[in-house]
Symmetry: C2
Subunit: 394 residues, 2 copies
């Protein structure tokens, strides 16, 4: 048995989160694509069945009250809150990430006021944030300026209304410095909007602690909410009264069943709601979040770093030097919970890897992405993934 | 046995759609709230279980291709199309009705061009359309003017960019004249946006035939998609190249997996997509739509009118004159698939009705709403509902 296999065994034996794997439906595949679609939590199928057969099928319309459907967006928001370092009452769940980026960015620009005419956006962002930011800029009469996150401090100024940044880069897995960048944005008198898609559930975010203004994120990656499960919107408590949504649907009205012609926004986080919540997907997510009971995000972060460290070590040991280039930063402070490897034939390599039972994903044009979900990925998985990768590249 | 009970029996015996009721999970309640939340189609629980356990749980990320997740919005759109009189390739499913109203109305205003600075909105609309229209007007620099649908022809002019109308009034059940109003809007050189929430699945809409420009609708009422199931957006084929979405998320990109920084809209209806589709809710809807196999909308309309006629007759026979006031027009050409009765104590009355097994809903401040879903409501239900209503009002 190789030294790395033995190391993996020891690391797994000492892993405090090991038992959490039983909370998921998994097979003998090494699933390193939880940063795209999280695995199925074992509690979800039964819950969804209850929602469909009993809550919808038997109680029908009564479930809006009796099964807590109407309050699901804020209730589930409060369940996500501790995972991203937020006190209750600041997050609502609903709509897609793209729609929430629109709400958050337009909301931030409106808070900044007329005098500030520029929006900065992460130039390396997952594309949808850039497209939506362009629309938000166009519809609020601002200019959009793409800037690499590292260059944001130098680009800030009296013109800056808002800055839209990714906590972790979807492609490279680079973790950006949320506390420092948020502080810089505030120093310039602007508003910081963070996209947490690739960090929530994988590492501490500290929204409240670092004074983030608005944030959005999806729930189908490290939060395991299921395919296309609803995203969420965080609006810092102090800003909620000033949050002026571009999508003031009836669910955000102070009195939604008053059926009033005039719009009067609800107080608090509810103001981020729009239309009727998507109950099946939303309650599947609520069930999925139960796997987090008793799991400190700090423990998840520690294991995530140990997993990615170990993967890099195994890749270095197994893969011939120069065959792949690691795009993910080595320093822990700059690393999310994925490893991105560049190679020219990445598309083909990923196909063959999947055939051999190691599932990551391919991001055009040349990136192999491997996501490490500490709740269900173990060190033996990591060793096997690197070994099969080396064979595949061979 | 009373004459009306016997009539109900005969009508049920002659009902061609009667067998469709077996396609739903129903109990001994008279469910007249399908215009708020449709009953559970029997095929849905098994389908959802497969989506959760096999597609998500076993295939995981592979399902985006192998289970047809990625193409669900347009595939399900094409399934809704014949129900609203649309040829394929013009409808995508996703997001809430409110979000789709925003896309449609901003899209319409942009088609109309800079010279037209006014949006007309149905003054009697379900509130969310009005709130969202206000936002669309504000964000496109237009003025919003609420107008009763009957007054729209007189309000149209060279300033009119777009008109947002409801096909059926959510409160009164009044059916508006979609062909004539659309023609009037076109004559003024403006764009017609229709909200089909209370008509799709209950009566013929004829989107293509009447040249409607854009339309939106929910799927959880007469289409039985489940609580908060995704809404849809119709963009007439000839206008699709000019549809400029205010929510240009990555799903609407010509090459969504190209991960390009620059936005280039997809051709066709796909342009109406935004973010990652909400798969659980979406595929529940897809299953729910199977109950429509072999059901002509015309047959549904004929039965709907027979049901509401019979309900009015039973109410007239059982309820003391003057105790309730019917807000729904008597002429068939002006009636949707619901009956709205006004009485001062409507809130209390509906509570007691529900306790006695007749489920309608209450709309503030004084309306009892009864929705008639021809696929699962029968004439005996109607007679019983009127009888229990009379006892409750008694």
């Amino acid at each position: 048995m190789s030294e790395l296999v033995m190391r993996a065994e020891k690391l797994d034996a000492a892993d405090e989160l090991r038992g959490k794997r039983d909370g998921f439906v998994l097979d003998d595949v090494v699933y390193l694509d939880g940063n795209s679609l999280g695995a199925l939590p074992a509690v979800v199928p039964g819950r969804v069945e209850d929602v469909v057969r009993r809550q919808w099928g038997e109680l029908r319309i009564r479930s809006w009250e009796e099964s807590g459907w109407w309050t699901a967006p804020e209730r589930i928001g409060d369940r996500i809150a501790p995972l991203v370092g937020a006190a209750p009452g600041q997050i609502v769940v609903g709509d897609s990430t793209s729609v929430n980026v629109f709400k958050a960015l337009v909301g931030a620009v409106r808070m900044a006021g007329e005098g500030r005419d520029e929006i900065l956006v992460d130039a390396t962002t997952f594309p949808t944030d850039g497209y939506i930011a362009e629309s938000a800029a166009r519809m609020t009469g601002r200019t959009l300026r793409p800037v690499a996150p590292a260059d944001v401090p130098g680009a800030l100024g009296g013109r800056t209304a808002a800055v839209l940044l990714n906590h972790v880069d979807y492609r490279t897995g680079r973790l950006h410095d949320l506390p420092a960048l948020t502080a810089a944005v505030h120093e310039a008198g602007a508003y910081a909007v963070w996209d947490l898609c690739h960090s929530a559930g994988a590492l501490p975010v500290g929204l409240d602690e670092h004074g983030v203004d608005l944030a959005v994120g999806c729930t189908y990656k490290y939060l395991n909410g299921g395919p296309g499960s609803p995203a969420y919107l965080y609006v810092r408590r102090e800003l909620q009264d000033r949050f002026d949504s571009p999508l003031p649907g009836w669910n955000s009205h102070a009195e939604p069943f008053g059926m009033r012609g005039g719009y009067e926004p609800a107080p608090g986080a509810l103001r981020g709601r729009v239309g009727t919540p998507d109950i099946l997907s939303m309650l599947a997510l609520e069930a999925a979040l139960e796997v987090w009971d008793g799991v400190p995000v700090e423990a998840v972060r520690a294991k995530s770093l140990a997993l990615t460290d170990f993967f890099l070590e195994c890749v270095a040991a197994y893969v011939p030097e120069g065959r792949v280039e690691c795009l993910t930063p080595v320093p822990h402070a700059e690393r999310g919970s994925q490893i991105a490897l560049r190679c020219d034939d990445a598309g083909d390599v990923m196909k063959r890897l999947v055939e051999r039972g190691v599932v990551g994903d391919f991001r055009a044009p040349d990136v192999l992405r491997f996501g490490f979900t500490p709740l269900y990925v173990g060190f033996a998985d990591v060793e096997r993934a690197a070994r099969v990768l080396a064979q595949t590249l061979g």
